[in-house]
Amino acid sequence: MTTAPAPTRPRASFDAGEPERDERRRKRRGHLLRLPFYLLALTMIAPFYWMLISVFKTPTELNRHPPSFVPGSPTLNNFYDPDWSATQINPGHLQGVFQRFQVDFGFGRFMFNSLIITIAITVGSLLIASLAAYVIAKHEIKGRRVIFIMIIASMMIPWQTTLIPNYVIMRNLGWLDSYAGYIVPALAKAFVLFFLVQFLQSIPNELIQAARVDGAGEWRIWWQIVLPLLRPALAAMSIFIVLAEWNNFLWPLIIVQSDEMANVPVALARLSSYFGGAQHYGTIMAAGFLASLPTVIFFLVFQRYFTRGIVLSGVKG
C-alpha cells in the first residue's frame, strides 16, 4: 500500500523523538515499540492461514486432532470431488463447492449474480449521482438547497428502517427474486451524492463556464467535462460501492426466493446452515475463498486507488 510518501522529513512515528545524536537509541526504541504490532500481524495472518489450509484438506484430515498445519495430502476435492456421486455411496467423499447447489453452474451462478449486480449498481449509482451532483453543485436552480439538505439528513437513517416497506414495494412491482429487485432500490445512494457534491464544489467553475461559452449543452458538459473532473472521486466511491454490494447480505436474504437468484453471501450462509460438522468446513472455506477472490484481486490491482479513495472520502466526509 502506498500513501503519499514523505520519506526524508521527520514524521510522527515510533522513530520520532529527541535530537539527531540519539539516532541509534531512537531506532532501537522504534523497533521495540513496533514489536507488539509485528506480533499483532501474526494474529492477522494466522486466521487467514487456517482458512487457506482448510481449503485443501480432506474430510478425514479436517476431523483430525490435533489439527495439521500443512495439509497432509493436499486436494482440490473441496471445490469439485470427481469421486462423489449423489446416488452412489463413496466413503470419505463429500460434495465440493460446485456440487453443493442444485442450480446450473452451481456456485459459479452465484458468483455471476454477484458480479452482475455489483457492476450494475456501481456504474448506475455513480452515473445518476454524478448527474445530480453536477446540478446541485453548479446549477442555480430553485429547491436545490432543500434537496441537498434532505439528502444529507437521510444519511443518518439506518437503512434497516426501510427494509420492510421496501420489501412490500418489491412485491407490488413484481421485482422479488429478480435482478431489478437487487439493483434498482440500491441506485440512489445519498452518501455518494453528498461526496460528489463536496468534491465538485472544490473545483473551480472556469472549465464549465468556458464550455458553456463555446455552446456546449449541459449533458455534454456533464459527460465531457464533469465526469473526467470527478474521476478521483468516482474511483473512491466505486471502491466503497463494490465492497458494500459484494458483501450485501440482509436485503438479498429477504428478496431472493429461488435458488438461482442468490448472491454469494446468501449462498455462503446457506452452505454453513446445512452443514455443521467439521468435515464440511473444507468446502465452506473453499466457498469463502472463492467469494473473497474477486475483491482481493480488485484490491491488489488497484491498491493505489484504494488508499487514495479511502483517504479522500475520510478527509472530505
Binding site: M1, T3, P5, A12, S13, A16, G17, E18, R26, R29, F37, L40, A41, P47, F48, W50, M51, L62, N63, P66, P67, I128, L131, A132, I147, M150, S154, I157, P158, Q160, T162, I164, P165, N166, V168, I169, L187, A188, E218, W219, W222, N247, F249, I254, L268, A269, S272, A278, I284, A287, S292, T295, F299, Q303, F306, T307, I310, V311, G314, G317
Partner: protein, 305 residues
C-alpha cells in the same frame, strides 16, 4: 452564475428544464426507495402489522412497550452499547498504533499495511464463517488447539454467554483496524515535518511531541474514525446472525449476542411483529441521530477552541 441573467428568458427556462431532468433519476429513485418507504415504516411503527393480516393502528403502544416494558429490547440495547464502546475504543487505539508503527514507505511497512488491510477487502460472510470454524467447539478447531498448547481444556467458545461479546469485539477489531490505520497514516502524512523539527530543537521528548503535535492535528481523523465506527457498530447484524444464531433465536445462548438489528430481525421476520420491528428501527435511528448531533456539536466546539 449571476452572469447569465442577460440571457434570453427562453434559454434560461430550457436550462432549468435540463437541470431538473438531470436531477430526476436520482431524485425519483431517492423518493421511491427511501423517502416513501421511510414514511411507510413510520406508519407501520404505530401499528400491529404482522405481515399478513391488515395493519391496525395502535398509537404509541409499540414505543411504550419498547422503552418501558420489553426486557429483551433493553437487554439488546445494553449488549449493543457494550459492544459498540469496546469495539470502537479498542479499534481506534489499535488503528492509531498501527499507523504510528507502519507509516513509512519502505517495503516492510507497506507489506504490514497490506496485511492489516486485507480483512477489509475479504468477503465479510466468509470471514464470519472462518471465525465459526476457528471457534469450533470440539478440539479440532484452531482456538481450542491453541488453548490446548497452553495447557487449558476445551472451551465452548460460541456457547459461553460471557465470551459472546468479546468474540464479537475481536471480530470487529480484527477486521476493522486496518481501515482506520489507512486513514491515520494519511493524517500523519499531512502533518508538516517542520513542527517536529521545531519541537526537537526545543528539546521535546517523543511523548511530548506526540501529545502536543500529533494527537491534536489528528483530531479530525479521529473524529471521522470514531463516528463512522460508532454508526457501523450500532448496526451490527451479520456477525450475530451467522456466528451466534441458535436454532431458536438469533441472539445466541441466553441472548448474549442479541443486538438492536438482530432483535429487529427476530421480531419482524420470525415473530410476525413487523410493526414492532419498524418501531425498533426508528429507535435505532434516534440513537444514530443523537450520536451524529453530538458529533456535530463537538466538531463545532472544537473549532471554537
Amino acid at each position: 452564475m449571476g452572469t447569465h441573467t442577460a440571457q434570453p428568458q427562453r434559454a434560461r427556462l430550457r436550462r432549468y428544464a435540463t437541470s431538473y431532468a438531470m436531477l430526476l433519476p436520482f431524485l425519483a429513485l431517492f423518493l421511491a426507495f427511501l423517502v416513501w418507504p421511510l414514511a411507510n415504516s413510520l406508519f407501520l411503527s404505530f401499528t400491529d402489522f404482522d405481515g399478513i393480516t391488515p395493519a391496525r393502528l395502535t398509537g404509541l403502544e409499540n414505543f411504550g412497550n419498547l422503552l418501558f416494558e420489553d426486557d429483551r429490547f433493553r437487554h439488546a440495547l445494553g449488549n449493543t452499547f457494550i459492544y459498540v464502546l469496546a469495539s470502537v475504543v479498542i479499534g481506534t487505539l489499535l488503528s492509531l498504533g498501527l499507523a504510528l508503527a507502519f507509516s513509512g514507505s519502505s517495503w516492510p511497512h507497506r507489506i504490514m499495511r497490506t496485511i492489516f488491510f486485507l480483512p477489509s477487502v475479504t468477503s465479510s460472510i466468509a470471514l464470519m464463517l472462518m471465525w465459526k470454524w476457528i471457534f469450533f467447539p470440539s478440539d479440532v478447531g484452531l482456538a481450542n488447539t491453541v488453548v490446548g498448547w497452553l495447557g487449558g481444556s476445551t472451551v465452548q467458545w460460541l456457547a459461553t454467554p460471557s465470551l459472546t461479546i468479546p468474540i464479537l469485539v475481536l471480530m470487529s477489531v480484527w477486521g476493522g483496524m486496518g481501515y482506520g490505520m489507512v486513514l491515520y497514516v494519511a493524517g500523519l502524512n499531512t502533518i508538516p515535518g517542520e513542527y517536529y523539527e521545531a519541537a526537537r530543537i526545543d528539546g521535546a521528548t517523543a511523548w511530548q511531541q506526540f501529545r502536543s503535535i500529533t494527537l491534536p492535528l489528528l483530531r479530525p481523523v479521529t473524529t471521522y474514525v470514531v463516528v463512522t465506527g460508532l454508526i457501523g457498530a450500532f448496526q451490527i447484524f451479520e456477525a450475530v446472525y451467522i456466528v451466534f444464531r441458535g436454532t431458536n433465536s438469533v441472539g445466541g445462548v441466553l441472548d448474549s449476542g442479541l443486538m438492536i438489528v438482530p432483535y429487529l430481525y427476530d421480531q419482524g421476520f420470525t415473530h410476525f411483529q413487523l410493526g414492532y420491528a419498524s418501531a425498533i428501527a426508528w429507535v435505532l435511528f434516534a440513537i444514530i441521530f443523537v450520536i451524529s448531533m453530538i458529533n456535530l456539536r463537538l466538531g463545532r466546539a472544537m473549532k471554537e477552541l
